[in-house]
């Protein structure tokens, strides 16, 4: 066990930091134009700090995969405060999927522009009647000449109002068993017949959308991974999504922010941190953050060694989301009456971010596999307990 970096990696980490700091003038700020964002992303790809391991032929940097390099790059962005490489569902979910199961024409057409930020994507998976039970989706696509014609509704499509394109699960074989009748389609959000309605949540913001399809025509060539293979294709990408939630860096940053808040705010003349009951909760959460951070280091090492992460990986989403939620809860409780202010209220602290997170995090606990589904996964895959039993026909 050794948390120190070897000289080669230490030099690499230094090099990334230096590059980012040297190019500070090109960092796109909050109001940056799309052109500026694309320019910065293109720079990052060239330097190898974005799309690092994606083949150059498809617009990536083409380096060999190296998990530790990737981690050092990510840390350099966090430490320097440089705007990170473009994320989003196109980069994180569609690109890996195309690399794995797309045909050559699809790879050529979509990966490069997606990586550079020229095309923004949204994901059309969930439906009002198909959440945890995604395979029961009912958005239909019937064949008509060279096209599929799509009718139905998607929900939780977070960037639908901004996206150029969508990757979408539709039922093309209504008579097949439910997992076999699904296809994975990609098409433009400008196709006639698509309506996007913002879906407002309890935070007061529309973080998601509903997307309605009425006779939307999509060429049959736009299927990825083969007709009827959509369930398998989607599971390739869902795997990627589950790894994204529960980053211990975020929890560490929250903990630091709450500690600062509790040192600075007072009630009745006493600092909040001097309230022993609140301080004990802070310490308890610090212990959990430290545990998740150490677990993250362990996972990184398992990855580096090519060993299976096992339970240490399966529990990250459940524990990480809950921890973030508990951190927000402590911040609200420490703020006391101020912890309920919201919107543009006078005396609002930290722009209401804790109130917003407390609510939004509940969505994260539910989304991407509810806590109950996560527990099923841990029990079945991690502990080998029986799968949910088949029910008798009733």
């Amino acid at each position: 066990m050794d948390l120190a970096l070897s000289p080669r990696y230490a030099a690499f980490a230094k090099e990334v930091r230096a590059f980012l700091l040297d190019h500070r003038s090109q960092w796109p700020g909050p109001g940056a134009s799309r052109a500026e964002i694309i320019a910065w992303q293109t720079q990052l790809i060239t330097a190898g700090y974005a799309a690092r391991t994606i083949p150059a032929a498809y617009g990536g940097h083409g380096a060999a995969p190296d998990i530790l390099e990737s981690r050092l790059i990510a840390e350099a962005f966090i430490d320097t405060g440089a705007p990170g490489p473009l994320g989003g569902q196109g980069v994180s979910m569609l690109v890996p999927t195309l690399l794995e199961v797309g045909d050559e024409a699809q790879k050529q057409a979509w990966i490069g522009p997606t990586l550079r930020g020229e095309i923004l994507w949204c994901q059309g998976y969930s439906e009002p009647g198909a959440g945890s039970d995604l395979a029961s989706l009912t958005t239909r696509a019937y064949e008509d000449g060279e096209d599929f014609v799509i009718n139905g509704q998607k929900i939780w499509t977070s960037t639908a109002h901004l996206a150029d394109m969508i990757f979408c699960l539709v039922r093309t074989e209504p008579d097949a068993p439910k997992h076999d009748g699904i296809s994975y389609l990609i098409f433009s959000m400008k196709t006639p017949g698509i309506e996007v309605r913002p879906l407002r949540t309890m935070t007061g913001h529309a973080e998601f959308n509903e997307v309605f399809f009425t006779d939307v025509r999509v060429p049959r060539t736009q299927v990825v991974g083969g007709r009827g293979a959509g369930w398998r294709v989607a599971n390739t990408t869902l795997k990627h999504e589950r790894g994204m939630l529960g980053d211990p860096h975020a929890a560490e940053a929250r903990l630091a922010a709450i500690t600062k808040l509790m040192r600075e705010e007072t009630l009745g003349g006493a600092r909040l941190i001097d309230n022993p009951v609140l301080r004990d909760r802070l310490m308890r959460l610090q212990g959990e953050v430290l545990a998740m951070k150490a677990n993250g280091l362990r996972l990184l090492t398992l990855n580096l060694r090519g060993e299976s992460p096992g339970l240490a990986g399966l529990i990250v989403k459940l524990q990480g989301c809950e921890l973030n939620h508990q951190l927000a809860a402590l911040a609200i409780d420490a703020l006391g009456e101020l912890g309920i202010l919201y919107h543009d209220s006078p005396r609002l602290r930290a722009d209401g971010v804790w109130q917003q997170r407390y609510m939004f995090d509940l969505g994260l606990i539910i989304g991407g596999g509810t806590a109950q589904i996560q527990k099923n996964i841990i029990a079945e895959r991690g502990l080998g307990l029986p799968r949910e039993p088949k029910l008798a026909a009733s």
Binding site: L199, M202, A329, I332, I340, L341
Partner: protein, 364 residues
């Protein structure tokens, strides 16, 4: 020996429920939350007509002269409907005036509070919890100066009951010179909270400044906030159970999954004793003076904990739809979120509960 609601109280609950379903359905709640009305006059008028406004006003002043339990049942119903109604301010002001007001003060205000025409704001926060952001009110030569935060129902108030830093209470007319009110917007848009700036405003003292009236108002406020949480939490549980019976995934209603069943059972198990606790606190307020403050504190603190659990769990039972605006579940979620913090989160209130029993370090 009878620890249950009277026939009159049950009838009152039923008629209140009918009124609220008619006058404050979810669409009305939504409209109020989305708009800028300082008060939902239609809702309060209907409630006042049914008798809700004058519950705590003595009969000789045109009210019903009932007890805090009746007020708690009413606030419970309001919480259950997430109804926009300035009941807390009216009830607390009625109590303050009836118990500590001079005859002239009572004559001036109690009748119009009971009829629903007058509304009241009540500011106790700094006196109960301590001040922040320089807030707190001082008395100089009978005039008030300073700042009161989180004043209950202040948005459309005609009179204000304000506690000073020493625990004395004061009656201030809202349109008096030197009184400036501005809104504090919270996550819960079904009720309005405000900040009152006082600049040498004329005020009348309300009762002796020995803190006794303040304690009584605090106890009543804690109990009524607990009642609001009880009603809102019961609605959250009811909605979760109803949804679990109806929503299908994996070929069956989700309420058939043991995980979902147990989430519902845990909510019910935690919430059901809360009903009796709120009754007990309200009853104690009028009948058991030695136990009243402790029972009120525990009702407030315990309902705060249980409601947070219920709000979160009911949302989880709903899955994704629970966090959207579509079903409006969040109105109740936020309602209990605000009730929890107003006049002290559970940690603060429990600390006060310990002090009430001489269990703090100072009493060593």
């Amino acid at each position: 020996m009878d620890f249950g609601l009277s026939e009159d109280q049950r009838l009152w609950q039923a008629s209140l429920s009918a009124v609220l379903q008619h006058v404050a359905p979810l669409e009305r709640v939504r409209a109020f939350a989305a708009g800028t009305e300082p008060v939902a006059r239609d809702v309060w008028s209907a409630l006042a007509e049914a008798g809700a406004a004058g519950l705590l006003v003595p009969e000789r002043h045109g009210g019903l002269g009932l007890g805090l339990l009746d007020a708690a049942l009413t606030v419970e119903a309001l919480g259950g409907q997430a109804a926009p109604a300035p009941a807390l301010g009216v009830y607390l002001a009625s109590l303050a005036l009836a118990s500590a007001g001079r005859e002239s003060q009572q004559a001036r205000w109690l009748g119009s509070l009971a009829s629903g025409q007058a509304l009241a704001g009540v500011g106790l926060s700094e006196a109960v919890l301590g001040g922040r952001d320089g807030a707190g009110v001082e008395v100089r030569e009978g005039r008030l100066s300073g700042r009161a935060l989180f004043v209950i129902d202040s948005a459309a108030a005609d009179l204000l009951i304000i506690a000073d830093r020493e625990g004395g209470l004061h009656l201030v007319e809202a349109d008096t010179q030197g009184v400036h009110a501005s809104p504090l917007t919270t996550i819960d848009l079904t009720r309005r909270w405000g900040e009152i700036v006082l600049e040498g405003a004329r005020a009348e003292p309300l009762g002796p400044s020995d803190g006794v009236v303040l304690s009584r108002l605090r106890d009543a406020a804690w109990t009524l906030l607990a009642a609001d949480m009880l009603g809102a939490s019961q609605t959250l549980l009811d909605k979760a159970v109803a949804y679990a019976k109806e929503r299908r995934q994996f070929g069956r209603v989700i309420g058939g999954f043991q995980a979902v069943k147990h989430m519902c059972a845990e909510m019910a198990a935690a919430l059901e004793p809360c009903r009796a606790l709120v009754w007990y606190a309200a009853y104690a307020f009028d009948a058991l003076p030695d136990e009243a403050s402790l029972a009120a504190a525990h009702a407030k603190a315990h309902l705060s904990e249980v409601s947070r659990f219920v709000a979160r769990t009911a949302t989880e039972v709903h899955g994704g739809i629970g966090i959207t605006d579509l079903l409006g579940l969040h109105f109740w979620f936020k309602r209990v979120g605000v009730d929890r913090q107003i006049l002290g989160g559970p940690e603060s209130v429990r600390d006060l509960a310990a002090r009430l029993q001489g269990l703090d370090d100072q009493a060593a």
